[in-house]
């Protein structure tokens, strides 16, 4: 792979004056397989995520969608093919640097129980050795942004928060070092419907304000259609459909129909 990359880079340099290169996708998967033992978790995945878009990966539990996220931030490396982030394969990134450039939000938030809300949110800046003043200012800004008044919440511990509040802290923490890319792994999965709706609204507002790129994993088709600029359907380790929400509603295929049938019973889009 290293052999292939170099000539391309040289070529790009040569053509710099004559051709404006197309905007690089922030993330691209190229024929990615991921295997665990003999089992294919992901099979031949290829897609690009452009800057500013929200790609929602939809699929049943065990379809491989979480594995996709872990391949992006280098928690896992592909068994075959390559995953490029900002044009560079994840195998060539310093794995710590890569992870710090990507915000990651998981279900139940994974907050550190021994740290206050403020310390949780300020952790990546602290790892990046920001001056304490800057960290404090950033934490206050972020907590305000996720609608948790700092005066009231900064000094609480995660166990003193509701599920929805914890999830907001998780989002604030992921945003802390201002990463260009955010990964969401079923972040709202464990919340009650009202709180979930509130956080979805907040997610949309935030996307508008911050212009971040996001890859969002969910098994809830309604959530996918609401939040996505593009929806990808992952089924048995393959990306079956990848299209805009409106076209997704018209897409063909057994799994798409099966997924969309959830909408009919719940009724509301």
């Amino acid at each position: 792979m290293a052999l292939c990359r170099e000539p391309v880079a040289r070529q790009a340099k040569l053509n710099l004056d004559s051709v404006t290169p197309p905007a690089n996708p922030l993330v691209s998967f190229r024929n990615v397989f991921y295997r665990l033992g003999r089992q294919d978790i992901l099979r031949n995945l290829s897609f690009d995520v452009e800057a500013g878009e929200t790609l929602v990966l939809l699929g049943r539990s065990g379809s491989g969608k979480t594995t996709v996220l872990k391949l992006v931030n280098g928690l896992l490396l592909p068994s075959e093919g390559e995953v490029l982030v900002e044009g560079r394969p994840t195998t060539a990134w310093n794995s710590i640097r890569l992870k710090r450039r990507i915000g990651y939000v998981i279900q139940e938030a994974g907050l550190f129980p021994h740290l206050t809300v403020a310390a949780n949110v300020g952790l990546v800046p602290r790892l990046e050795s920001w001056p304490q003043q800057d960290i404090d200012r950033r934490v206050v800004g972020l907590l305000t942004q996720v609608e948790l008044p700092p005066a009231e919440f900064a000094h609480r511990y995660p166990r003193e928060l509701s599920g929805g509040q914890r999830q907001r802290v998780g989002v604030a923490r992921a945003l802390a070092a201002d990463p260009p890319l955010l990964l969401f792994d079923e972040p709202f999965g464990a919340l009650d419907p009202m709180t979930r709706m509130e956080l979805q609204r907040q997610f949309l507002a935030m996307r508008q304000n911050l212009g971040k790129t996001a890859i969002f994993v969910t098994h809830d088709v309604r959530e996918a259609l609401l939040l996505a600029t593009r929806v990808g359907l992952v089924h048995q380790g393959r990306l079956e459909v990848l299209t805009t929400p409106s076209e997704f509603l018209l897409a063909q295929g057994d799994e798409v129909r099966a997924v969309l049938s959830c909408l009919d019973t719940k009724g509301n889009v």
Binding site: L75, I96, G110, H114
Partner: protein, 205 residues
């Protein structure tokens, strides 16, 4: 006579506490890093835990005896006693260090790694603070056991409150036995209370 006994009691109590302190310091300094290492080396874990377990099953009097003929660490006196006490104290600390660190919630560990913590940062900022209470509980259990076991040190010339007990046994003098056993029990209780208090201070998460 009375004041002579009090003087000896004080002296042997101090000696006893000294033995236990040195043994616990060494055992803690060995077992916590070893425990941390073992959380990273699954293959090694079985062997080391096995060794510590076997040490625990050797009757204490026999262990003291076994050590006497060994070069360097053996012989008669305090240092042999300390070696034996260390061997006994290792297991509870080792086990609790492992349990504490391996017991850290998967989601917490995963998000620490995902946010770009190095292995060292993961250990110092997440795993050790979260495991501190469990590790300390191991140290407390080991300390209490060691205070009791240290009475046997007198059998190989290690001194401590066991001197009273063995002398009492030899002369069938119950008072002498009690003069050793009661203070040892009181020290154990005090250590247990004191370390529980420290544990409570760690209790936040």
């Amino acid at each position: 006579m009375q004041s002579g006994l009090m003087g000896e009691l004080l002296e042997l109590t101090l000696e006893h506490v000294g033995l236990v302190s040195v043994a616990m310091a060494i055992a803690t300094a060995m077992a916590i890093p070893a425990g941390i290492l073992l959380t990273r080396r699954e293959a090694l874990r079985r062997w080391v835990l096995g060794f510590a377990n076997v040490m625990q099953t050797v009757p204490s009097l026999a262990l003291f005896g076994f050590l006497i003929p060994l070069p360097f660490i053996g012989g008669i006196g305090k240092h042999t006693a300390i070696v034996a006490l260390v061997l006994y104290a290792l297991l509870p600390i080792l086990q609790n260090t492992l349990a504490g660190i391996l017991g850290v919630d998967r989601a917490v560990r995963e998000s620490a790694i995902a946010m770009g913590m190095t292995g060292r940062q993961l250990l110092w900022l997440v795993e050790l603070p979260l495991a501190a209470r469990t590790i300390l509980a191991g140290v407390r259990v080991a300390t209490v056991i060691t205070i009791g076991t240290a009475t046997i040190a007198a059998a190989i010339g290690g001194g401590g409150l066991g001197v009273f007990i063995f002398r009492g046994l030899a002369s069938v003098d119950t008072n002498q036995i009690l003069a050793g056993a009661v203070p040892a029990a009181l020290i154990a209780l005090a250590a247990d209370k004191g370390l529980s208090w420290v544990e409570q201070k760690f209790w936040r998460g």
